[in-house]
Symmetry: C2
Subunit: 415 residues, 2 copies
């Protein structure tokens, strides 16, 4: 008897019809003889509606009260899904994060999980019940309600799967697999049957919205096999995300993606003294601002320019904390560029094939697209380009690397 964790996102529980559909996927697993824990997000547009309500009351609502407000969303979806499963004749019980004991750090709006109690879930599973757990939310040791931030429900699901040592974690969403690029932007994108955690992590980080990077990191850390699949077609096996050691093939290029939500911040004429970079990025980190694509360039004697990207939601906060740092370190100026897109290429096999970076730059050059900034990791290359060029950039890179779909499994041809 296997233990399977299933996660349903907001679109998969958007109305009563879809909730009944999700119940079918749950019951199928349960009737196959598995123990099942289901993690659920808030229904469809609930979060947007609640955010709008809060906005009518305060332009800057306090994060503690926002967490209280938003976490009501999953309370609705878990109870409705439990009812739908009971109505279909199977025993189910819904549980809030506070009831399970999903303990997080004491930070609001983007808390990290520090511990998950398993005794109460286990008791229900032992009684042959399907457990429906609220995703996205947590509770501090003091009993304060927290939320996990963007993609939080994916993280809840993987963390619960890890805590319960589940055989598999199935993430149900509105796409049926992971593709070499977003098929809405690149219609010829090819389907992937299997990707590694590392590839998925980079794809998620660079803007492929199907899985949140934090959930993939957690899955990698605890070796939880993830399966991304469609709640609208529960027979489709979707894409399996596994460890490198379980990968059958190494592709030089797994996929490409564009992130249009980044902004570039440059701090000009930073005195070239030890500790200056630590001061800048330490301050951002203390303020919970994630930074990507850091570049330091030597400008002239004794001064550097330091540029990096942050999510557009963090821009105002970043600017206000950086202004104090700028004065302190006696840098000249802070410059913001909003008109950027981060176009990235990911592939676990690229480390052995030196031509990949060159091929990406070629593709952009042939399309007449200027590169504003470059950053690389072992399995990823990212270029900043002008926002309006993002789609063209994706298409030209996709074509350059022969990712365009030709038959059922086009990737096997290029590997």
């Amino acid at each position: 008897m296997a233990l399977v964790v299933q996660k349903f996102g907001g679109t998969s529980v958007a109305d009563s019809t879809r909730i009944k559909n999700a119940a079918k996927a749950v019951i199928k697993e349960y009737r196959n003889g598995n123990k099942v824990v289901v993690v659920v997000s808030a229904m469809g547009k609930t979060t947007d509606y609640l955010v709008k309500l809060a906005g009518e009351i305060s332009p800057t609502p306090c994060t503690r009260e926002m967490d209280m407000l938003l976490s009501s969303g999953e309370q609705v979806s878990i109870s409705l899904l439990a009812m739908a499963i009971q109505e279909a004749g199977c025993p189910a019980v819904s549980m809030l994060a506070s009831q399970i004991g999903i303990i997080t750090e004491s930070v609001h709006s983007r808390a990290r999980i520090v511990d998950i109690k398993t005794d109460k879930i286990q008791k229900h599973l032992d009684a042959n019940k399907i457990v429906i757990a609220a995703g996205f939310q947590g509770i501090t040791p003091d009993g304060e309600i927290t939320t996990l931030g963007r993609g939080g429900s994916d993280t809840s699901a993987v963390a619960i799967a890890a805590a319960l040592k589940a055989q598999r974690c199935d993430i149900y969403t509105d796409v049926n697999a992971i593709y070499t690029a977003d098929p809405r932007i690149v219609p010829k994108a090819s389907r992937l049957d299997q990707v590694s955690y590392g590839e998925m992590l980079e794809l998620a980080r660079v803007g492929a919205k199907v899985l949140h990077p934090r959930s993939v990191e957690t899955a990698k850390q605890f070796k939880v096999p993830l399966r991304l699949r469609s709640s609208f077609n529960i027979e489709d096996p979707g894409t399996l995300v596994v460890g490198d050691e379980n990968m059958e093939i190494y592709r030089p290029v797994t996929g490409i993606a564009a992130d249009l939500k980044q902004v570039r911040i440059a701090i000009l004429k930073v005195p070239d003294k030890p500790g200056v970079a630590a001061r800048i990025f330490g301050t951002l980190s203390e303020n919970n601002i994630s930074v990507d694509m850091i570049i330091q360039s030597m400008e002239e004697d004794e001064v550097n320019n330091i540029a990096f990207t942050v999510h557009e939601n963090d821009l105002n906060n970043a600017i206000s904390v950086l202004e104090r740092v700028r004065q302190e370190i006696k840098a000249a100026e802070i410059v913001v560029d909003n008109n950027i897109a981060k176009v990235s290429l990911v592939g676990a096999g690229m480390v052995d094939r030196p031509g990949v970076a060159a091929g990406m730059f070629d593709a952009l050059s042939e399309a007449g697209i200027n590169i504003k900034m470059i950053s690389t990791s072992e399995i990823k290359i990212s270029c900043l380009v002008a926002k309006e060029k993002a789609e063209e950039a994706l298409k030209s890179i996709h074509k350059k690397f022969d990712l365009d779909t030709k038959d059922q499994h086009p990737n096997e041809i290029i590997n």
Copy 2:
């Protein structure tokens, strides 16, 4: 420095404008130098919306999951009200029943409060914060979420006021005072500045929907002065509900009301043996079915008819448990009458004035209305009449006892 508990019902927090309005009433109390605890219901039509959603999924959703679902409603309203108060510059913190420690018995959908922890509320009050507490909901010692049933938020407010030994509990609603009858049915109804707990209790029990009987009972038991007032006119002092010892005047008739939600159940030819009534009403009580207006009549030798009323929502449940009892006690038949209205007259002073009951029967007789059943208490007389006669019955009784408004304080004339 006084401690004031305020309670806002669903219509008083129905949208962001009304929430800001409620915040004004809270802040007024706080700026007067009082400590303030606010108890809030779910926003306007939220509960109806959630009940409808559940109905789309299951015709008979389990009560545990209904409690989980419905208690999300107050989570939304408490956080929004806290934001509105903060936005106006005062410190506020929202708290769920599980965070406060509003402990109830382990019954779903109509749990009774058994204990309220005050330490966490007190800590916030000591830090000069306004505490916004979720009404209607509770938590069992096992951590299961419960709801208090109809009028639960009123009960939450009074119980919290009692636990904190508050000086006053103000119930804000969409009416500005208690009247001698529902002004929507009897346009000439007169306003009451003061009523006793006993009168309010009977008025609430017989269908005056402004305050739930359970909340009035709790207020009476713990001597919490209640003030019923309008959230749309926070300068209006409303109606004060206090103990008999604080009443300035005793009215023979305080008010009248009709309850259209009762149904009559009659058990025919019940053998006249000891313990039979205890068996019938004990079974109903074990199934959490409240019974009103019990009449036992001697039919012929050795058999009685027993009739009583229950709330229409409890009818199906009552019939199914009573059928088993009927077979066991060998009664002949169970008969249901749906077409009834319970018309009641309440007045703490009627005990000294024997003509009140006669006056009520006179009024009904003059209007040509047949009385199906009569029940009396020290301060109340109730008659069952045909449902379609309820409005006419109310108007004729109101007129008979000179309750029709003539000037500012018409009641002083008849006392």
